[in-house]
Symmetry: C2
Subunit: 363 residues, 2 copies
């Protein structure tokens, strides 16, 4: 498996380019990543700002999201319902953007949207269903929340945990990727809203401290030793609910510690994205021995919960029970670096890139 | 992986022994099977008929069940909730037996029971909960049904299909092991009771014809070619419900053809019992892509459905909608042969051994 280039190589990549307002800059697939992404996998291109046609709007990118699935996009896999990419294509990615021109009947200048923008600084869009665009309302909070707790990340946490996990207050829960975008929200939902007992898995002492600060009763540092050996002492009574953001060896280890009629939610498989050959789960029959279930979760199948989730989450944010945690990198030129850092476990909370920052005149 | 000895070697094994009424004959573990069972893995022993102590009954074995899990027992695995075996131990197995002496307050001479008897012709039993003994009532049908459709096999089919599979009439269903003990019942429940569309997987033309006779709209012969290639043409719209009795490659193949929000019931893993190293499921992430679930099923966790299942099943037998299918081998001395045949796919319907046959004076 290819290792990621050192971060310094991504810094050099960024130093050679700079986004300005007068052109549409894009990060494209230069070559198909093998294993971890490398700086040579990305190509910087510049184009005229697109002119919206009838029925389209011109969007100015404010924030962009980084997500583990993006390497799968770059590898041409038909992941997360997006069209497969080939070298030369703009990389897929959700963002927050502001309408600067509108020739679309339902959108007007100044409105703010979150949706499929791609790794680019401007986009002409017909606001098609495939782009999954959601209008944002000013609420006194940063528009960046639309890429986290008040966006797909938040919906993943909310629907994955409540709709698929069927949580109970007495759950002995295990949560992987607990310091990540989805995980840091699920940790709070479980510990603070449902008030169940959560042990979070994260990499390193700093992240483990963060995970405890979210309300977890315990934290497992997967960098400190064998994950399979660490679960039993951390969850001596076994696991009722395992919320899985990583897949692979961690999933296999969790399967060995299920209580009767346990539930597993497969929400993410970040460990899989880094592998050339998929991890093979040799102990799936543990589901039979324990009468347990493993349920796959794909957020785009749960868009029907959008309004419910956003209303609940924004209420919990307002009353202080949920806190949005971001890891923000500055500057569109640093998108490749931010993506590479995801796979090495660099981020705490949802990783986003500030392209231009907050919308203008939005209230 | 060790191949099974040819059936002739099991015939020679049986020819050397004969069960009589005056001794308790047992089949014991001679050595731990490696891969498929071989004739040398079994040891025939003879003992005095046990004398029941206070609180015990003496049971005379009438029928014994053969089940794929038995090799796991012989290998010392803690399978299906039974105590792990070592060489010298009597092999576990459920049977139908008649009480011939009773020093137990709740059981009287002549009553018929199904439960954990073991591979032996007599048993002294305290009728403990661990033996999971169920009193049988005469109903004009063969007592052998207690090892099939009116026993744990039937409960597995009923609870696995109805409670775990959550079937719907519009299901496009796939069923592996469709000619086997559990599978041949599930096929009928799905095709005749729920009236959904079932494609069954079985080995060979004869079994495929049998599977169609159960009501399946199609049958896949896994011996005729690559199972992965055979599913798409047989289930062109994909799979809503996969009821899995075999695990391994067939499960992996089915995962590639799931419709959105499909369900998989892991009821049996006969292909796993034959393997020295477990099959590793490399495409479990298909559950995420399709928002599907995979639920393990262990019949002993569903004993609470016993009365409901038996009442429903016996009703459906009486009104002709369900038919019990047995593959009966004659004679206790042929137990090893019957077990070996299971793993080579020899049986049609539930495999049992007639030790003495119907109970005496039972009505």
């Amino acid at each position: 498996m290819g290792e990621a280039d050192p971060i310094s190589s991504f810094d050099r990549l960024a130093a050679n380019v700079q986004a300005t307002e007068d052109l549409n800059f894009q990060w494209c697939v230069a070559r198909v990543p093998v294993g971890n992404v490398r700086s040579g996998d990305f190509e910087w291109t510049a184009h005229p700002i697109p002119e919206p046609r009838e029925g389209e709007v011109l969007l100015k990118t404010l924030y962009l999201s980084l997500a583990p699935v993006m390497r799968a996009y770059m590898q041409g896999k038909p992941a997360a319902g997006e069209t497969p990419l080939t070298p030369g294509d703009v990389i897929h990615g959700r963002g927050v953007a502001q309408v600067t021109k509108s020739r679309h009947p339902n959108w007007k200048e100044g409105e703010v949207v979150q949706g499929q923008i791609g790794w680019q600084t401007w986009k002409a869009s017909a606001m098609t269903p495939a782009e999954k665009m959601f209008r944002m309302q000013p609420n006194g909070l940063s528009a960046a929340l639309g890429l986290g707790i008040l966006g797909m990340t938040g919906l993943s946490a909310y629907a994955g945990y409540f709709a698929c996990g069927e949580p109970k207050r007495q759950d002995k829960m295990l949560l992987s990727g607990a310091a990540g975008g989805v995980g840091s929200i699920v940790a709070q939902l479980a510990a603070k809203i449902v008030e169940s007992d959560v042990v979070g898995i994260a990499g390193g002492a700093e992240k483990c401290a963060f995970v405890r600060s979210l309300g977890c009763s315990g934290a497992i540092d997967y960098l400190a030793g064998d994950i399979a050996a660490a679960i039993a002492p951390a969850r001596p009574d076994g696991i009722d609910l395992y919320f899985d953001n990583v897949g692979g060896e961690t999933l296999a280890a969790a399967l060995e510690h299920l209580r009767a009629r346990a539930r597993i939610v497969l929400c993410g498989s970040i460990s899989e994205y880094a592998r050339e050959t998929p991890f093979a789960l040799a102990n799936y029959t543990r589901l039979r021995a324990t009468d347990s279930s493993m349920r796959g979760f794909f957020v785009y199948n749960h868009l029907g919960l959008w309004d419910e989730a956003m209303e609940a989450m924004s209420g919990w944010i307002r009353d202080g029970r949920l806190v949005a945690h971001f890891d923000i990198i500055e500057g569109f030129e640093n998108m490749p670096k931010a993506l590479a850092a995801l796979y090495s476990g660099g981020n705490i909370g949802k990783q986003i890139c500030r392209v231009r920052g907050e919308p203008e005149g939005w209230q």
